[in-house]
């Protein structure tokens, strides 16, 4: 065990993956010798050479196109998109290509070795284009997996699973927590299964669900609510696609109440999918409407960032509203 922040945990996962197999490649804008603008890939060029960890030209559609080709050749392609906000030029290569590669070929070819890493999320005074949480844009795409960790331990275990998973994975890194979140992390390899939500805390009155950086907000809100005597079950979804319907519905069948929090704008966010599914599966058990605590429907703002965010106070209020319904 060692104390690591979230960035170090990611770096450690990349390091172990590259040590394990010669054909694991890491690349993206500025990810080479410099180690990336957040330094997630630092040290990898020194260790594995400039053919294994390298810079790309500045073209996201090319990065993912190249990565798709490399993965289809049988290599492990770990591509970084510098900010989640800049993943959209690669949208076609992801939703039309990566996601459909195996299906359309009848399993003659696949890009299972593809992992796309990208820092996402707000709270860093980044405005429209350094703050977005684009998970929902991808979650409508059968064939993709989408994963996001809440802390260093989760980050390392989930990233190692993502890299060696037999499907293309979009791995979203909560950049607000890169240095802010620290914890004990094993130095050796370990994995956390994809597709399984994590019941972070058991409770009986209400289920509070989130993912990624939102978990920090959620846990703070829950602390406050528990002080009021509300017993909260807290779930980290971890894998957004395919999501763990079973764990979530089991919890709601028990508690009868659900609050979901997400960073992204509310309309069309992934919280809506969860709410739609849960109201269907738990209809007779629901004691109050499923609440979504979320960004509002505006481009991610700068000067009103604090007001915009789905912070712990808003989650706390939603818990209260749900309890008092």
């Amino acid at each position: 065990m060692a104390k690591m922040n979230l960035l170090q945990a990611i770096n450690s996962a990349l390091d172990l993956a590259m040590a394990k197999h010669d054909n694991v490649y890491s690349f993206g804008e500025d990810t080479g010798g410099f180690g990336g603008v957040f330094r997630a890939t630092s040290g990898l060029t020194e260790k594995y050479g400039k053919h294994r960890n390298f810079n790309t030209p500045l073209v996201e559609q090319g990065i993912i196109g190249f990565a798709n080709g490399l993965a289809s050749q049988g290599s492990y392609a770990v591509a970084e998109i510098q900010f989640g906000d800049y993943i959209f030029p690669a949208f076609d290569q992801i939703v039309n290509e990566s996601a459909k590669f195996r299906y359309r070929s009848g399993n003659e070819f696949d890009v299972g070795g593809l992992t796309i890493r990208t820092p996402y999320g707000g709270g860093i005074a980044g405005g429209h284009y350094h703050s977005q949480s684009p998970e929902a844009y991808f979650a409508h795409t059968p064939g993709m997996k989408i994963v996001t960790p809440r802390n260093p331990y989760e980050a390392k275990g989930l990233l190692l699973s993502a890299i060696f998973d037999k499907n293309p994975v979009l791995f979203m890194e909560p950049k607000r927590l890169y240095r802010a979140s620290t914890g004990e992390v094993p130095e050796e390899e370990y994995t956390i299964p994809l597709g399984k939500a994590d019941v972070v805390k058991e409770g009986t009155d209400i289920t509070v669900l989130g993912w990624g950086a939102q978990m920090e907000m959620t846990e703070k809100a829950v602390e406050k609510a528990e002080e009021d005597g509300v017993s909260c079950e807290v779930i980290d979804l971890r894998t957004i696609l395919p999501w763990d319907v079973e764990t979530v519905t089991q919890s709601v069948l028990k508690t009868g109440r659900l609050v979901i929090s997400q960073e992204a704008p509310i309309t069309g966010g992934f919280a809506s999918e969860i709410a739609a599914t849960v109201q269907d599966k738990c209809f007779l058990y629901l004691e109050s409407p499923i609440a979504r605590v979320s960004g509002i429907d505006v481009p991610y703002p700068l000067c009103h960032e604090k007001e915009y965010m789905a912070d712990h106070l808003k989650i706390y209020e939603a818990i209260k509203r749900s309890m008092n319904y």
Binding site: V59, Q61, G62, F66, E97, R102, S105, P142, V245
Partner: protein
């Protein structure tokens, strides 16, 4: 990886403007339209077997195309797309490669696939989306793919395979396979951003990839000159990327062979990516959904008929004594019979089982997909007549 070349910063003190006229890229032709060689032309490596195989494959593909266009007209398949006029490009370039080289096509390269040995039955199974189709009936006709033959499954979105080819070739280089990737695309697809990404990245990483642009004058109804691009075609772009580039007559089997052989050597031995622009003409409509009389003239089509790649090769082979009229006719009849027989066979093969609907989305179907499939089957059981393709053998 990076090569350390310096920018040209030679100084001038009067503005020197460059434009499309600054470079003149001529076109390599070895076999003239009349079926004779240019004197003193640089010849590719070839022997009789090779040329006969190229010829027979071209003829096979042309016949297949004809029959399948007819089959589409009869309503037996939903869609087809012919390569008439461009057979030399795909067949002779495939002939210049190693069978272990990866082929990534756009959709009009059935010639390369046939050259690799895809059987007429395999073609038919794909075209009829039946349960023997390697692609499990999931994509429209002509979206072939075959891992055994190193022919990447075609995908409809244009240009996406170009940066993928760069990535594939990168893997081949790192794995020291001694193989390369050839990537075909139309001059229309070369307008996509993915083209730019791909060529630039290949030039930076110096990977063994051959970008083979089929410039056939049209992208559906859009003429290339002045509407697809304002410059002199695709080749001069290669210079911008600092990439080995050549323009060839795409209707000349020998020019295609010659250029692709050298391209492969550059790619595999020197890790030099190569751009080939082959000039040709799409003699059919874009596909069976298209009627070209709406946007081009008969004269123009006729101008190109005299440049036909198959006629040209046949003339030369006959002169050479490597082919006679009888062989041509016999072979045509034979192919036609095979195609028709395979067609009838493939038509009878049932559609893939409904379970295939959820396979291969992921390596394993997810719980949600299994649930969705079960619900669907329940529904089909309730209304079997509404889903005749699958209701017969749902359990």
């Amino acid at each position: 990886m990076a090569k350390d070349k310096k920018h040209n910063t030679e100084i001038v003190t009067k503005p020197q403007w460059f434009d499309g006229e600054s470079v003149t890229i001529p076109m390599l032709q070895i076999l003239k339209e009349d079926g004779s060689f240019h004197k003193g032309a640089d010849m590719p490596e070839y022997d009789k077997d090779l040329i006969v195989k190229i010829h027979d494959t071209m003829q096979f593909i042309r016949t297949l195309d004809e029959r399948m266009i007819a089959a589409q007209r009869q309503g037996r398949i939903s869609f087809y797309l012919a390569s008439r006029g461009e057979e030399a490009e795909s067949v002779a370039s495939a002939a210049a490669l190693d069978d272990g080289d990866m082929i990534m096509g756009q959709y009009r390269e059935q010639g390369a696939l046939a050259y690799r040995g895809f059987t007429v039955e395999q073609f038919m199974n794909q075209l009829f989306s039946n349960e023997k189709d390697l692609g499990k009936g999931r994509q429209m006709p002509v979206h072939y793919g075959c891992a055994d033959l190193n022919f990447m499954t075609i995908s409809s979105p244009l240009g996406t395979q170009i940066p993928q080819a760069t990535g594939y070739a990168f893997g081949q280089k790192m794995d020291k396979t001694g193989k390369c990737t050839i990537c075909y695309f139309g001059e229309g697809a070369a307008s996509e951003g993915d083209f730019h990404a791909a060529l630039n990245m290949a030039s930076v990483y110096k990977v063994p990839v051959i970008f083979f642009c089929r410039n056939n004058g049209y992208a559906i109804s859009t003429p290339s000159q002045g509407e697809q691009y304002g410059g002199d075609g695709i080749a001069p772009r290669g210079i911008g990327y600092g990439m080995k580039t050549i323009r060839i007559d795409g209707n000349d089997v020998f020019a295609v062979l010659r250029a692709t052989q050298e391209a492969r050597r550059l790619a595999v031995e020197e890790n030099e990516p190569v751009l080939i622009e082959a000039m040709s003409y799409r003699m059919s409509g874009h596909s069976t959904s298209d009627d070209p009389t709406g946007y081009r003239t008969r004269e123009e089509e006729d101008d190109w008929k005299v440049k036909d790649p198959l006629d040209r090769l046949q003339k030369w082979m006959m002169n050479e004594g490597w082919l006679d009229k009888d062989h041509v006719e016999e072979h045509h009849a034979e192919v036609k019979a095979k195609v028709l027989a395979a067609l009838k066979e493939a038509e009878k093969v049932p559609a893939p089982h409904i379970d295939e609907l959820i396979n291969d989305v992921y390596d394993e179907p997810t719980p949600l997909l299994k649930e969705q499939l079960e619900e669907l089957k329940e529904h089909i059981r309730k209304y079997p007549d509404a889903y005749p393709k699958t209701s017969g053998r749902i359990d």
